[in-house]
């Protein structure tokens, strides 16, 4: 097998070889007062995979992603990206792209200016802003203020912001919310292509049927605890669906 090289010159390891995890979550715990939002959670992600991060509302998915992205501090354990705490990464925008569930856009700012602000702060050339606008097909509305955008357009703009730095790891919180069927189809193909280049995706979702078509493996949590993790083809027995497995594990089906 020929050794693959990505555009940065870093060798991309073969899929089954021993590789350093891109994301390493170990014994991660976060409490809000009496509530344990994330409870001794451990999992890791290898490069070139799309991982679905599944669980009921309030299971701690968003909190886990916030801990991984350095927006919140854990009470115990750690969440590392590329072997470092996020806040200690050099040039994080060039390594990790993320979109959280809330769209996180200023309604009075244009889509293009939203991306230009991020590009300036990350010292990314402005040509990249135009490339990303083209990628998410927002060129025609780029100078309109975000308040005039549909939910799907906002999601695509936020995704463009996450991709500005051409990251190796993409973290998405419920990205399919507000996307129409064509948008969902586009996102699925995009994520597969992204992972096909040896990059890594962690995507939280409620949409199990959609997730089953997009992801290679899942991490399922409930009440902050890990309940299952593994490749889809290992977890799902023939004749059953991801939904069956999920509802069985999270106590939602009976």
């Amino acid at each position: 097998m020929a050794k693959r090289i990505d555009e940065r010159g870093t060798p991309v390891p073969p899929e089954d070889g021993p590789t350093e995890p891109v994301v390493e979550v170990s014994s991660l715990t976060k409490r809000f007062g009496e509530v344990v939002a994330v409870d001794d959670l451990t999992f890791s992600l290898r490069p070139g995979t799309v991982t679905g991060f599944l669980g009921p509302n309030g299971a701690g998915k968003t909190t886990t992603l916030r801990l991984l992205l350095g927006l919140a501090e854990p009470d115990a354990g750690e969440a590392l990206a590329f072997g470092h705490r996020y806040r200690e990464l050099d040039d994080p925008a060039l390594r990790v792209g993320a979109v959280l569930e809330s769209s996180d856009l200023h309604p009075g700012r244009s889509g293009r200016d939203h991306l230009r602000v991020l590009a300036l702060a990350a010292e990314i050339p402005s040509s990249r802003v135009e490339e990303m606008l083209a990628l998410v097909e927002l060129e025609a509305v780029a100078d309109r203020r975000v308040k005039t955008y549909s939910l799907g357009m906002r999601q695509r703009l936020a995704l463009a912001g996450a991709l500005l730095g051409d990251p190796q790891l993409l973290v998405l919180d419920e990205p399919a919310n507000g996307l129409d069927p064509a948008g969902v189809h586009w996102l699925r193909r995009f994520l597969r292509r992204f992972a096909g280049k040896g990059r890594t995706v962690l995507v939280s979702s409620h949409m199990l049927a959609e997730a089953a078509q997009t992801v290679d493996q899942v991490v399922i949590i409930d009440r902050g605890r890990l309940v299952a993790t593994g490749r889809l083809d290992e977890l799902i027995e023939p004749g059953r669906t991801l939904e069956d497995v999920y509802l069985g594990l999270t106590g939602g089906g009976s």
Binding site: R66, L71, A93, D104, L105, G108, S110, L118, A121
Partner: protein
């Protein structure tokens, strides 16, 4: 640092918030100065009152600069853009520092224009009524430059307050209430802080433009004291932002 500054400047330029604040400030400066210049002529024939009337520009410049500074962080928290901001720049102290520098620069511009407009319009209004203006060039220079310095430093206080309070409405109401109301009560006869009142940050701002000499601090002392308040507020806001979880 330059990259963060350019990003912060673009944030300011790319919404209408700054222009809205500037327009509101200018309107209130004109209103305040013109209304005061309608006082009975015998009340306006002393330099002390003329300084007070023209000094409304400085007060409003400082108030709106503080609101601008607070909004630079609370608007990001309100709309969630604080998250992409800190994802790109996880060293949060640098973001707050860039907000302080940007707000100080724009705040200085607010103060310069508010102070200049108040002095010019006030002078024209008094002259139109045939009232002699008793201020010299030094007084004018202090009114305009003092307004710029006071507004610049209050902009930094605004960033600190915004970073500490985080919620937009309480932060803005808090700043307005302090400058328009609370400080006056504390310094006034009611609470009886008396001499201590001149060391409060609103009084220090007025001192910079040479208001009420003898009662307030000397301009240079006022500027130094307000700079200490600004540094303390910015530092507290920066530390709190670095240590607390992002909303």
């Amino acid at each position: 640092m330059k990259a963060f500054l350019r990003a912060e400047l673009l944030k300011q330029r790319s919404t209408r918030t700054g222009l809205g604040l500037f327009t509101a400030m200018l309107g209130l400066v004109l209103l305040a100065v013109l209304l005061h210049s309608l006082l009975p002529a015998e009340d306006l024939t002393n330099a002390h009152t003329q300084l007070m009337v023209f000094g409304r520009g400085e007060f409003l410049g400082a108030l709106f600069a503080a609101l601008l500074g607070a909004l630079s962080i609370t608007a990001e928290i309100r709309h969630g853009t604080i998250r992409p901001t800190f994802l790109v720049t996880p060293r949060r102290g640098r973001v707050i520092a860039a907000k302080v520098v940007t707000s100080v620069m724009i705040g200085a511009g607010f103060g310069l224009i508010a102070g200049g407009v108040a002095a010019a319009v006030g002078t024209a209004a008094l002259r139109a009524r045939g009232i002699e203006v008793l201020l010299d060039e030094g007084d004018y220079a202090l009114l305009v430059l003092g307004a710029a310095v006071a507004a610049a430093l209050w902009a930094a206080i605004g960033v600190g307050v915004g970073a500490l309070v985080r919620h937009q409405v309480p932060a803005l109401i808090g700043i307005c209430a302090w400058l328009l109301f609370v400080e006056g009560l504390l310094a006034g006869d009611l609470v009886g802080l008396g001499d201590v009142g001149r060391f409060l940050p609103g009084a220090a701002a007025l001192a910079i433009s040479g208001q009420e000499p003898g009662t307030l601090l000397a301009p240079a002392v006022g500027a130094l004291l307000l700079a200490l308040y600004a540094a303390a507020a910015a530092l507290a806001g920066s530390l709190a932002t670095s240590r607390r979880d992002v909303p």
